[in-house]
């Protein structure tokens, strides 16, 4: 099922709905998240950074398993983490700190693998590339940077280069509010929105700006159409603007160059967007606490979820392999045991004392399906070959047995014949003797 999960900056918990039916699922308690702070870790559980107050000097991270409303694991990173993201199979969690540092944790052990100073000011958003090999970060200083994780983990190469990032895009002048990445691996486009009222389209392959779209108001959220025809920009004036990527646009558009239309229903600012490729649905969260589901073809609202009174600031669509709720926990209590137990909390500092763990990794080995293979017919062929060659000792042994039996039979037959012969001889001898005695008697 496709679940929609949403959180808010003031405590309203994490709402969870089934996108197809609209039914509300469990509500996960006590969550006040900064924007981009909610993520699902490999669809196994939920993780969310917690920040009660934007200027707080400490924050924490919470994990919820899908089946329980209470947060089960609490971690205390070294500084408040705002954006939080996990890679697609949920092996790593990356968090952006308010000092501009980026942290990478290994989920299975909770170890802090790497931490590096990425930006001059707080990180505002983090995105993984399609293949999880690149990380894109946006910051309050207006900078968007592209990092290769391979480089981050290569201690030797790190020392040889002047900077760690692959690209650094500095054209935004104010805080970067949202980043999304398009399709196409190394040739993808990156879209970034900023408080300078622009959205910019960057080329990952060329490493430069492709398009600059200026909006009437500040854009806080963007979502990209999977076909990259257009992108959607949720603005503080309450509209969701549709801007052209590959779509044709005429210079006479109402809102400005490249903006070809808008979706409106509300006056409250749009704070977050998510796109569900499966149903071609656009989900928007707003400061009035509602989540609206738009059919992008008809541009109508098809559904509304009420989250809370406060502003919704995160929407994530998670594809769950099994339905949530009570039925699941009853039917497969034992087989899912390892999935339900959550990993340990994330470490605060890179812990170099446990060196042994550096050399190891906790891994779920890949599932392989062993097709049943039957051996008998192959065995027959092998053995027949051996028999034909008469070479192997096993065959010789069998042959010996057969020969022994033959031998026995021959011996038997020999005995029999011998007996016959003996009888015959005796008979003949007797005959002869009889004749002789008769002749003898004649001669006498």
């Amino acid at each position: 099922m496709n679940a929609v999960i949403a959180s808010s900056s003031i405590d309203g918990g994490i709402g969870c709905w089934d996108l197809q039916t609209g039914a509300e699922q469990l509500r996960y308690k006590t969550c006040a998240s900064p924007p981009h702070g909610l993520t699902s870790v490999g669809c196994r559980f939920l993780a969310c950074s917690q920040l009660r107050d934007p200027s707080a000097t400490s924050g924490h991270l919470l994990y919820w398993s899908w089946s329980k409303p209470q947060a089960q694991v609490k971690s205390f990173p070294a500084e408040p983490i705002k954006p939080l993201i996990a890679n697609s199979d949920g092996t790593y969690i990356v968090g952006g700190g308010s000092s501009g540092d980026i942290y990478i944790w290994e989920v299975a052990t909770g170890r802090l693998l790497k931490k590096w100073h990425a930006h001059y000011r707080a990180i505002t958003c983090l995105v993984f590339s399609e293949d999880d090999s690149l990380l894109i970060s946006g910051s309050e200083d207006g900078c968007v940077r592209v990092w290769s994780l391979f480089m981050i983990f290569d201690d030797v190469r790190r020392q040889q280069v002047s900077h760690l990032y692959e690209y650094s895009f500095t054209e935004h002048t104010l805080r970067v509010t949202d980043i999304v990445i398009g399709y196409g691996g190394g040739n993808a486009i990156i879209l970034s929105a900023s408080e300078d009222r622009t959205c910019k389209v960057w080329s990952l392959s060329k490493g430069r700006l492709l398009r600059n779209v200026v909006f009437p108001s500040i854009i806080d959220a963007i979502a990209i159409d999977p076909g990259e025809h257009v992108f959607y920009a949720g603005s503080r004036d309450g509209k969701i603007y549709i801007a052209a990527l590959n779509a044709e646009s005429s210079p006479s558009d109402n809102y400005g160059l490249h903006i070809i239309g808008s979706l409106t229903d509300q006056s409250k600012p749009v704070t977050c967007l998510a796109y569900s490729a499966e149903g071609n649905l656009l989900l928007s969260g707003s400061e009035d606490g509602m989540i609206r589901v738009w059919d992008v073809k008809t541009q109508n609202i098809t559904r509304m979820f009420r989250h809370s009174k406060g502003p919704v600031n995160n929407i994530v669509i998670v594809r769950l392999p099994y339905p949530l709720g009570r039925a699941e926990s009853k039917s497969q209590p034992s087989s899912r045991k390892h999935e339900l137990s959550l990993p340990p909390p994330l470490e605060k500092y890179a812990n170099s004392t446990d060196e042994d763990m550096d050399n190891k990794a906790i891994v779920m080995l890949p599932d392989t399906i062993d097709l049943p293979s039957y051996l008998s017919s192959q065995l027959i062929n092998d053995h027949i070959k051996q028999l034909q060659q008469q070479g192997s000792s096993a065959v010789a042994e069998m042959e010996v047995k057969r020969l022994k039996a033959d031998c026995q039979r021959s011996v038997d037959m020999f005995q029999q014949l011998r007996k016959v012969y003996d009888n015959l001889q005796e008979f003949c001898v007797n005959e002869l003797l009889d004749e002789q005695t008769m002749e003898g008697s004649k001669g006498n």
């Binding site: 092996t91 290769s148 190469r157 900077h163 042994d356 050399n359 080995l365 062993d370 062929n381």
Partner: protein
């Protein structure tokens, strides 16, 4: 043939024809040899299935059922015969029956069959063949049984009965062939009924380990046993037993290596490996199998043992396991590195201690060990997937270092496949850094002779597949038992190196091509400027060479062994695929060899065999999009980006080629300020004015750089507007005004800078850039992108001014453009603003050759 009614009849006649009657002695030489054909008839016609979807005629079902009943009673009577050959026939056929019979029949009678078979593996011992056959048939029975989850419990119970006889046999019997049968059964037990093993875990481990560690059996048997050992932890199914088993195996490999590599590696290596395996302060686990086995004679290396144990590691990593496990990645990688590091040459300190016999011995066994360590590396990558990331840099270093030395075709092919796996699993991020090594090695392999000479006789490539055993012989040529080592110690390595360049087997070339293909798909978009053009030309050359003497025959030649038959066609296929990828992979310039490539695909479509022709047709189809692009180009800053005044492109260049662009930095930093200021001041007229002033200052600077005559030259050219491609524009400028789209050739690139120098003699920057770059360009006919970059940005300044001519003739101002583009909302300022709004549409139109064909004057009029 499809008539169901015939099936019972066929079965009965088979029974009559093939199965020996009870009292009739079996004639081994006749009826026995027909068994395979009997089995194949049974399987083809599903004679035992008792199932047909089409007919539900009860009469037919009954006749069929009774026929199968007869078949089984016949088998069972054979089974209980005291003649071992009859018995053997019965057991084998019962195994086939387990596989073929209907579900119902199997479920109702499996326990009877199992007990019958069980009686044959228990003493008093029967003949070997009967034993092997009954183990194998039991394995088949269990395999089938495992597919019915509802009888799992019963299955476990029955399987439990089998464990002890198997163990007894492994421990007591001395005949290798029987173990193989036992290994079959053991595999079925562990794989399908792990619970049955649970109580005997240690005993099974000890039994298998003793066989493996004795190391004197055929590798096939050892592999089977090794596989069983790898699966054994499943019997317990918890986290610790897997890790313990892995640790034990690694320690055992390590110990054998210490012994084997004495003298060919530094002592420190073995200590380090040990430290990784058993962290200081922790207890050493019991050795594999419980007790230590003192095995092999000293004259042979324990290669068989080590390779079996490594095979075991591979299987442990790639088989599924019910819970998460802790994998000692680091020590496994260290093991791989340690093995790959030893190449048979001696460290100088060791010289006096080694005899040439010992060295020979190691050299002859090394290829096998290297092959297995590469296999282990492959398994690590497969098993760890994403979690390998922290170790990926280490792996890349190990692989690239080994790549430089490795020359055996077999091993190179494996290395290429490792690189492909890394590229696919780690994506763009790793491709950027792995590319140089891949390019270097693949170019060497593809450029070397070899393929061309052997192309007419594919059989010549045979040695490629059989290279491993051959190496031993080759190395033995150094045989000189009394000779002094000093003369010989260097022999192996130079020989290896020269080998790479003499002749590369086609199979290696195929691997190289496939790897280039993957590199292009994953990493062509990112930072590929330095190698792209040379790879494109290499792939074109290879494809042309591969196809120049006609098309390979894909149908395997029945006179040749299977693999070597279609190798040439495979080579063609790989080269065409790589060529297509090189066309389709994202690039900044049009594919240079498109026309030749299209021609090649066209010919292939018409002339080649089925598979190749199909691929060529697909290639032509895929390339159509390249020729008629459908999507509108997203790039608004197409021409702007190539201006040296554009911040993004400059910084980008700076990132890559820092140093060569120093002359721009001052210039650049002022520019950066302008841009950012421009965006920040949406509503600030004052700021705009100030900005305008600054621009004016810079305009002067710019104007100094660009000679006025040049400008005039350009304005007089109306058709110079097809900006689809910067490089084309560059060519057009020095060339005739109405020139059409050229295909870029290497020569033109080389010539380019000199043209520029003529046309822009006063430009300080261009000149200085050239001073840096043009020698390199001149000497390197490859014309790679790095070298052309600086001249490019220089020429773009021309391009830039050229562009300005279209938008406003009265004003030659490159800076306004940029400022305007980054913030197109400029309110009115004097000069530049008049065209601001226009600029965006203008530059986006630049991308369509057709639209901007207008006269520059009209363009400026419309402002």
């Amino acid at each position: 043939m499809y008539d169901v009614g015939l099936k019972p009849v066929m079965l009965r006649s088979l029974i009559r024809q093939y199965l020996p009657a009870e009292n009739h002695p079996l004639n081994l030489n006749n009826s026995c040899f027909e068994l395979p054909s009997l089995v194949s008839i049974l399987q083809t016609h599903c004679l035992l299935s008792e199932l047909d979807s089409q007919s539900i005629d009860p009469k037919l079902i009954n006749t069929w059922k009774s026929a199968v009943d007869d078949w089984l009673s016949c088998l069972l009577s054979l089974l209980s015969s005291d003649m071992s050959d009859k018995c053997w026939v019965g057991i084998c056929l019962l195994g086939v029956t387990c596989q073929e019979c209907s579900n119902q029949r199997f479920l109702s009678s499996y326990s009877v069959w199992l007990n019958k078979l069980l009686s044959h593996i228990q003493p008093p011992a029967d003949s070997q063949l009967v034993k092997i056959a009954s183990y194998t048939s039991l394995a088949d029975l269990l395999t089938r049984l495992a597919r019915f989850p509802e009888v799992k419990k019963d299955g476990n119970l029955l399987a439990g009965k089998l464990v002890q006889p198997v163990l007894k046999l492994l421990n007591e019997d001395n005949v290798e062939a029987v173990w193989e049968g036992a290994a079959n059964l053991l595999y079925a037990l562990i794989a399908f009924f792990p619970a049955s093993i649970h109580h005997y875990y240690d005993k099974v481990e000890a039994a298998i380990a003793s066989k493996i560690l004795s190391g004197k059996y055929r590798s096939k048997t050892l592999k089977k046993l090794g596989y069983c050992l790898a699966l054994l932890p499943k019997a317990k199914g918890d986290k610790d037993s897997w890790s313990l088993m892995m640790q034990k195996i690694l320690i055992s490999i390590n110990d054998h290596l210490n012994e084997a590599f004495q003298g060919v590696e530094e002592e420190a290596k073995s200590d380090e490996a040990r430290r990784l395996l058993v962290p200081p302060g922790k207890d050493l686990p019991l050795p594999l199998g419980g007790a230590s086995f003192k095995g092999t004679s000293s004259e042979r290396l324990p290669t068989a043992i080590m390779s079996t144990l490594m095979f075991c590691c591979c299987k442990m990593l790639t088989s599924s396991y019910p819970v998460q496990v802790t994998v000692p990645v680091r020590s496994m990688l260290a093991l791989v590195e340690r093995l790959l590091r030893v190449d048979g040459s001696l460290p100088h300190t060791m010289l006096p201690f080694m005899t040439s016999v010992q060295q020979e011995l190691i050299c002859s066994e090394l290829p096998v060990l290297h092959a297995y360590s590469l296999e282990l590396l492959i398994a690590i990558i497969k098993g760890m997937r994403r979690q390998l990331l922290p170790h990926s840099a280490y792996i890349v270093r190990v692989v690239t270092r080994y790549f430089k030395r490795c020359s055996l075709p077999e091993l190179r092919i494996k290395l290429y496949s490792i690189i492909r796996m890394l590229l696919v699993s780690m994506g763009v991020g790793i491709a950027i850094y792995l590319a140089p090594d891949v390019i270097e090695n693949a170019s060497n392999d593809l450029n070397s002779l070899g393929g061309e000479d052997t192309e007419t006789s594919p059989a010549n490539t045979g040695p490629a597949t059989g290279a491993l055993p051959q190496l031993g012989n080759r190395k033995r040529k150094h045989d000189a038992k009394t000779g002094s080592l000093e003369e010989k110690q260097d022999a192996p390595s130079p020989k290896g190196e020269s080998n790479t360049h003499q002749m590369t087997p086609i199979t290696v070339k195929i691997a190289a091509l496939d790897t280039l293909e993957v590199l292009l798909t994953v990493g062509a978009a990112s930072k590929s400027e330095s190698w792209r053009s040379s790879i494109d030309s290499l792939l074109m050359k290879t494809a042309i060479n591969s196809c120049k003497r006609g098309w390979g025959n894909l149908e395997s030649n029945i006179f040749l062994p299977h693999e070597s038959a279609s190798v040439w066609a495979d080579f063609q296929f790989s080269s065409l695929r790589a060529l297509l990828t090189s066309f389709l992979a994202p690039a900044r310039v049009r594919p240079a060899y498109l026309s030749q490539g299209l021609e090649l695909f066209r010919r292939g479509k018409q002339e080649a065999g089925m598979k190749l022709a199909q691929f060529c047709a697909y290639a032509l189809f895929a390339l159509e999009v390249l020729i008629h692009p459908r999507a509108l180009p997203l790039d608004d800053f197409y021409s702007a980006c190539h201006k040296s005044t554009d911040g993004a492109s400059n910084r980008f260049l700076e990132n890559i080629y820092s140093g060569s662009q120093k002359q721009n930095t001052l210039f650049l930093s002022s520019m950066r300020r302008t841009e950012q200021g421009g965006v920040e001041s949406h509503d600030d007229d004052l700021y705009d004015r100030w900005l305008q002033n600054e621009n004016e200052n810079q305009n002067k600077k710019e104007n100094e750089n660009i000679p006025v005559e040049d400008m005039k030259d350009r304005t007089s050219r109306p058709n110079d507007s097809s900006f689809t491609n910067v490089l084309e524009v560059r060519e057009q400028e020095p060339a005739a005004a109405n020139a059409d789209v050229h295909i870029r050739t290497e020569n033109e690139i080389v010539v380019q800078p000199w043209h520029l120098e003529e046309s822009v003699p006063k430009s300080q920057e261009v000149a200085s850039a050239k001073a840096l770059m043009s020698p390199a360009v001149g000497t390197n006919p490859g014309g790679s992108e790095i070298e052309s970059k600086t001249p490019l940005s220089a020429s773009d300044r021309l391009n830039d001014t050229n562009h300005d001519m279209f938008s406003f003739v009265d004003k030659v101002d490159g800076f306004d453009n940029v400022a305007g583009k980054t913030s197109s909302t400029f309110p009115n300022a004097e000069k530049g603003s008049s065209s601001m709004v226009h600029l965006d549409s203008d530059s986006s139109m630049d991308s369509f050759p057709g639209i901007v064909d207008a006269d520059p004057d009209t363009d400026s009029d419309s402002d």
